[in-house]
Symmetry: C2
Subunit: 190 residues, 2 copies
């Protein structure tokens, strides 16, 4: 059935004989970790696999090593790409063909900002609408009730302001740490 798992180009060059045990541990670690953050396990598994690999992997590699369906890998990679947790490597540089190769993003700052955007952004949008509706509703109330409702709406706005203040600071704090020696070509242009 899986008629097209092309035996993965023999680039045993950079890809120094993958270590299955190391792969399994990384896959498990990221699956669980990201799952807690609300990301599907298979997505975490893909990231973990890439993290465990000394060289970039292609679509078929991932399908084979994780033993999940093409569909899942496709969707998982789409998510990871969108949230900038993986980078695509120029295909030409790895094999001559046209398939894409993937590498994990290792900068915590970029990872976090990508995930935050995926999760927080839609949330903020949703919230804005709710606040608007709340304000309109309040028009109908009167007296002590109205006072109370306005108070609560004010509270919501305070929270929003506070969150708006915190998120940017987080981004700064997560900037690649001053451990200079490990910061090789892993530049931090963001």
């Amino acid at each position: 059935m899986l008629r097209w798992l092309q035996p993965r180009p023999p680039t045993t060059d950079i890809l120094t004989a993958a270590d299955p045990a190391f792969e399994r541990e990384c896959v498990a670690l990221f699956s669980e970790f990201l799952h807690v953050l609300g990301v599907p396990k298979s997505v975490g598994a893909i990231y973990g696999l890439l993290f465990a690999s000394p060289g970039p992997l292609c679509f078929a590699d991932i399908v084979e090593k994780l033993g999940v369906s093409k569909g899942s890998v496709s969707q998982g990679l789409a998510f990871l790409r969108q949230s900038r947790a993986v980078k695509t490597v120029n295909s030409k540089s790895v094999d001559g063909g046209r398939r894409e190769y993937f590498e994990p993003e290792l900068g915590l700052r970029r990872l976090a900002s990508g995930l935050i955007q995926e999760k927080i952004q839609p949330l903020t949008k949703e919230t804005r609408g709710s606040l608007q509706r709340l304000r309109e509703q309040t028009g109908a109330a009167q007296g002590a009730q109205r006072t109370f409702q306005l108070e609560r709406i004010k509270q919501l706005e305070t929270w929003r302001r506070q969150l708006g203040r915190v998120l940017p600071v987080m981004q700064i704090l997560l900037k690649v740490s001053p451990s200079a020696h490990s910061a090789r070509q892993k530049a931090m242009a963001d």
Copy 2:
């Protein structure tokens, strides 16, 4: 069947005639918001209901107003209590009896720290084990492979350090702001 929804003590005193529209909006807002953070919707609904209420509510009030089962309310309140998102009010002060009354915690700092502890704590525990196992695994590898794996493990440790640095700062930033001149900063658009 629901033979025991005691008609809620007639404390129409503080509880200035609840506004169903306001309640609905708040319930919807918090359900959705907390859901994104990985908290069950019914839990968000309970918090939202309390947030919308001018006075504390008891178990039976919540069951009635939300129209969910006793079981859910019990579990939801357990979660909210544990993460310190609701406070229990001295029963005696509301009615003479022995039922508990609940109020929402409004300080963002406490809310956030509670939720973080619920989510991050188990995660850190899990992670520690994985890191340990990874390190052991690595003992078996050699040469370039070993070098690579040690590098990755170092990366994981860096991340852990960075996260450990960020979380406390977040707590501080979320400290309840004096609100005095906060009204000025209304320009938070995004």
